[in-house]
């Protein structure tokens, strides 16, 4: 049986028609489409402004050129792998459901959201410092989620109205402020106060950075030929950012602190056509990425030295390793019944208890400190009828 016959036979059971009434709103498509037309015009205006900025000697430069293709830098040192870790529940402020979203580089500050599914104006942002709940800040608008926090306790996030009118926000000294630049998202902030995210309506967004919470946004250099930004995922302490564009294929890019951008190449693979390389995050001076080709020879977790470009393979099966990569919360949670964290090039088991309450729990990680001494995430109850807290923010302290 050839591929055509086999494919037809195999997929035949999936043939079918949608049976319910369509929930498609053509007038809304026209309204939103009109805004998109306007947005493209605005982008042109922004680019014109950036040209002027470039003339003025700004950070923004042309896409990176590999003037020295064979550098041999020393690889970034990995933190020492901890000998033991203990699990600690973070205070939930009396809320039934609290979700931890991000942590600072030292692992001393964490930020999250209470009752995120309720999404009312009274759902506060939660801030922890050294394991103590230090703020429950009522958000000024509905569905405002803080994604990341730095060592000064400054957090960033975005309102999520469910439509196309999301705005980037910063939380500082007990107050929320909208970042400059209009609609968009702020996803990460580092200890220097640099913020990255994207601006614009869905479908025509541009990657941006704010040099500080008060600063005007600067568009990150757009890679040649790319128009469909998927997202900016992570920001390192040195200012390196990582994100991707979606075109004929998904391409990942690194924006360096000097303003250059380069495409993240693929690691040496036996069958590069067998899957896709998906960035997970920036950790320990490396960019971590998953190559997904289930049961293929290249399926696994990889990392590349951000400065030198050297690739390393961490594991040979992404299903086993994916749980341990503490991806930024904006990328979604990868949950595992056994908590495990990737530190440097090693996968380290974490204890799954003790925890208050009963019933099965799965864990999702979204932060590991630069010294690998604090890991942060959430414990999620899988039995929804369980009266125990359905989500509990947790940290592991390691030594």
């Amino acid at each position: 049986m050839n591929d055509d016959d086999y494919g037809m036979t195999l997929l035949e059971p999936l043939r079918g028609e949608p049976s319910g009434q369509p929930a498609i709103d053509v007038p809304k498509a026209i309204r939103d489409g009109r805004r998109l037309r306007g947005r493209r015009w605005w982008t042109g205006g922004l680019l014109a402004g950036l040209v002027a900025t470039l003339v003025g000697g700004s950070l923004l430069l042309a896409p990176g050129q590999d003037d020295n293709p064979h550098p041999k830098p020393s690889l970034p040192p990995d933190p020492a792998v901890p000998a033991s870790c203990t699990l600690h529940e973070l205070p939930n402020g009396g809320h039934r459901l609290v979700h931890l979203n991000g942590s600072d580089a030292a692992g001393r500050w964490q930020v999250g959201t209470a009752d995120p599914n309720a999404g009312g104006t009274q759902s506060p942002a939660m801030i922890w410092h050294d394991g103590k709940l230090v703020a429950q800040a009522p958000t000024p608008v509905r569905h405002l989620v803080l994604w990341d926090i730095n060592s000064s306790g400054v957090a960033v996030g975005s309102s999520e109205s469910g439509g196309s009118t999301n705005y980037p926000y910063v939380y500082r000294n007990g107050t929320f402020h909208r970042l400059k630049g209009g609609t968009g998202l702020a996803v990460q902030i580092n200890d220097d106060g640099v913020i990255v995210g994207k601006l614009g309506k869905y479908g025509s967004e541009v990657p941006v950075r704010w040099a500080s919470p008060e600063a005007e946004p600067e568009e990150l250099t757009r890679p040649a030929g790319e128009t469909n930004l998927h997202g900016i995922y992570d920001l390192a302490e040195d200012g390196t950012a990582v994100g991707s564009y979606i075109g004929r294929t998904t391409k990942n890019y690194l924006w360096r602190p000097d303003g250059t951008v380069r495409e993240l190449d693929t690691p040496p693979l036996q069958k590069p056509e067998g899957g896709e390389l998906w960035v997970v995050g920036l950790r320990f001076g490396w960019v971590y990425a998953m190559f997904s080709d289930i049961n293929g020879p290249d399926d696994g977790l990889y990392r590349q030295d951000v400065r030198g470009g050297a690739w390393q393979r961490i594991t040979h099966n992404s299903a086993a390793a994916q749980y341990g990569v503490s991806a930024p919360a904006t990328m979604g949670a990868m949950l595992s019944p056994v908590p495990v964290v990737v530190i440097g090039s090693r996968t380290v088991d974490l204890p799954s208890g003790p925890l208050t309450g009963t019933g099965p729990v799965i864990f999702g990680l979204n932060g590991v400190s630069a010294d690998a001494r604090v890991v942060s995430g959430n414990a999620v109850r899988t039995d929804t009828s369980n009266p125990s807290a359905p989500e509990q923010p947790v940290i592991w302290r390691c030594e």
């Binding site: 591929d3 195999l10 997929l11 028609e17 949608p18 319910g20 067998g274 049961n295 594991t315 299903a319």
Partner: protein, 175 residues
């Protein structure tokens, strides 16, 4: 901002919604997600309509937009797909029966790399010829054929693999 072409847009969209919805349903396997895909596609279509309306093959362009929206959505939801699409699917893979077969098959298909998913659906469920799939995906016919082969191989392995992907303490780490 009405440039006089809304009438043509409306005529086009109303005529194509059933077909677009069917393709979206076959791609996603979910009616609600299918409606979301169509909504997103016709929104972007309106934004670009003044230019697209003059194109030779508007249908191919629109299908390209929808497949890209599908791939974009898969990219966003990949982490959770990998979570929920692993152990339960394997556990159910030995069961028989039409509805269960469809569930198992659909779950397995969601674990195939997204572009390969799109190729398999367009070719074997939407009955599009290789050349048309290549046009929709913006790649060569050779790429469509190789993606078909890789996708079928992946699907076969997923359906036939006996052990669950989620490791437990008792089974140890798979590597």
């Amino acid at each position: 901002m009405d440039d006089g072409s809304d009438g043509a847009y409306l005529a086009y969209v109303h005529g194509r919604i059933p077909a677009l919805r069917r393709v979206a349903y076959l791609l996603s396997g979910d009616e609600h997600q299918a409606d979301d895909l169509v909504q997103e596609t016709i929104t972007k279509l309106y934004a670009r309509w003044p230019r697209i309306a003059e194109a030779d093959n508007v249908d191919a362009y629109v299908h390209t937009m929808m497949v890209r929206a599908f791939l974009d959505e898969k990219r966003r939801g990949w982490w959770r797909v990998r979570l929920w699409g692993s152990a339960p699917d394997r556990a159910a893979s030995s069961s028989a029966g039409g509805a269960e077969d469809r569930t198992v098959l659909r779950a397995a298909l969601t674990r195939v790399p997204p572009r390969q998913q799109a190729v398999l659906v367009l070719r074997f469920l939407c009955d599009r010829p290789v050349a048309e799939v290549a046009e929709i995906l913006g790649c060569s016919e050779g790429t469509v054929k190789s993606q078909t082969a890789h996708g079928l191989t992946a699907l076969r392995k997923i359906l036939g693999e006996p052990s669950p992907a989620v490791r437990t303490k008792s089974t140890g780490r798979r590597s």
